[in-house]
């Protein structure tokens, strides 16, 4: 019983870490421009699929991963430059619909340029399970959790201790004052789209050895990341992190103790409850930030 619980907990934290990464991507763009970017899941898909494609060309795994992350970042920057920037004065709803359109476009593009097959990526350090307190953990799980922790630390350093990170927060807090300090809105938007594409792609690369990747993998992972962001709240970056981990664990417990068929339903029941009873999320308090 104890071992079983630990097993579910560890696998929940692994999956939850990827939800946290996707949720952080939502948070960054929402902070910068008040928009929920529904193409966020496609960055996850691009990370995994591009890695698989570069591996297929015979590249070593680390090179393939770096190139795939670069592809996703370029996709994020192009999305901002070609679709969001020209309609910056449009309503939030317009921008959200643009991101939905972009997600369909990315899926279609990958389907045509690459393929519609499932691609399991090789695990980064083998498939030999490690025993922790009697529970078996795949080394890939450690990669997922470790890389997520590193990303969270990096984001914290960027937003709390670098001038450019502070500039993004300043623009979110007061756009006019930020412009009067000489902070360029375009710079803030490009930076946030580039960063959140990178986070999504990292999640996609980390999870692909566990659950394989294909051109539609971003739909479900994007929704789970969105659930994570809603559950934790978008007030601070800790919201999606806490929300992602909680969601992953609850899902794993549900699948383990109830029925695995309901695994995905758990997430959507949670999001309905959150939206109905605490729309600001677990960590949400106070006023919304202003949009850029």
């Amino acid at each position: 019983m104890g071992v079983e619980f630990l097993q579910f907990l560890l696998s929940g934290l692994t999956v939850g870490a990827t939800y946290a990464l996707v949720g952080l991507g939502f948070w960054i763009i929402h902070t910068a421009c008040g928009v929920i970017n529904f193409a966020q899941g496609e960055f996850v898909m691009l990370g995994g699929m591009a890695t698989a494609a570069f591996l297929g060309l015979g590249m070593p795994l680390p090179v393939a991963i770096m190139l795939a992350l670069a592809v996703a970042v370029v996709a994020g920057l192009l999305l901002e430059r070609l679709a969001v920037e020209p309609t910056r004065n449009g309503s939030v709803v317009t921008l959200i619909i643009i991101t939905i359109g972009a997600s369909i476009f990315f899926r279609g593009l990958v389907q045509v340029v690459l393929d519609k097959d499932f691609h399991p990526l090789p695990a980064f350090s083998g498939e030999e399970p490690i025993l922790i307190g009697g529970a078996a953990v795949m080394p890939q799980s450690l990669w997922v959790v470790g890389a997520t922790a590193a990303v969270v630390l990096g984001l914290w350093l960027f937003f709390e201790h670098s001038l450019h990170g502070k500039a993004v927060r300043a623009a979110a807090a007061n756009l006019l004052a930020a412009r009067l300090c000489g902070i360029r809105v375009r710079f803030v938007l490009l930076l946030s789209f580039g960063m959140s594409a990178l986070l999504g792609a990292i999640a996609g690369v980390l999870i692909a050895p566990i659950s394989a990747t294909y051109y539609e993998v971003g739909i479900m992972l994007g929704l789970k990341g969105f659930c994570a962001a809603m559950l934790g709240g978008l007030r601070s970056g800790w919201g999606p992190v806490v929300g992602g981990l909680v969601l992953g664990v609850v899902e794993a417990m549900g699948a383990g103790y109830l029925a695995s068929a309901y695994k995905d339903a758990v997430a959507f029941v949670i999001i309905l409850l959150v939206l109905m009873f605490m729309p600001r999320g677990l960590l949400g308090r106070g006023a919304r930030s202003e949009r850029v």
Partner: protein, 241 residues
Amino acid sequence: MPNSAAPLLAVAELDVHYGGIQALRGVAIEVHKGELVALVGNNGAGKSTLLHALSGIVEASRGSIRFAGRDIAAASADARVRMGIVQVPEARQVFGPLSVEDNLRLGAFTRHGAAQIARDIERTYALFPVLAERRRQAAGTLSGGQQQMLAIGRGLMADPRLLLLDEPSMGLAPNVADETFEKIGDLKGAGVTILLVEQNASSALYIADRGYVLETGSVALKGSGRELLADEAVRKAYLGM
């Protein structure tokens, strides 16, 4: 004041439209280096619009803005900050969640040279000691008067050649407003060139070298601060006398 040299700022024939509504028509003002020029007028006269046109936040539909001899009408907002046109916006608008020190540091966002910036932060603290005591505190937790000091300090951190102050006394208790005007007088004494927009016409004209009265988007009157304070029409319309 010396009118012989070319003005630092020369605005001519300036029109600004918001959609179909004309907010400024044919505005012409000049500010010379070292001057404190007050721009007074009622709510909605176009004072803030003029400052936003100078900062590149709104676009002029006609006319010219020359700064230090260059036409800057096409320059972006951040380029104007780099040139030294720095605005302290109405209602303070500090970055509430960020610390006092981060607010000041972001004032110098366009500048390079960490050592000089660090020295300027200390200079700003010397000018506004209350900010030094609260340097780690979130700016949103300061009182209104302290936020105004922070907003002005943030503007100074950009190393302005022309400081635009938009209604610095707005929403402040009378004694705090007086203190703010005193600080503005000190800044002029320190050689900062200032264009001061105020509804509180008497206090503004009192410390100003020259002033302009803006009415429904046009300059209605201009003169030295003393002349305008003594003007019958100004006294009636803006000073309540």
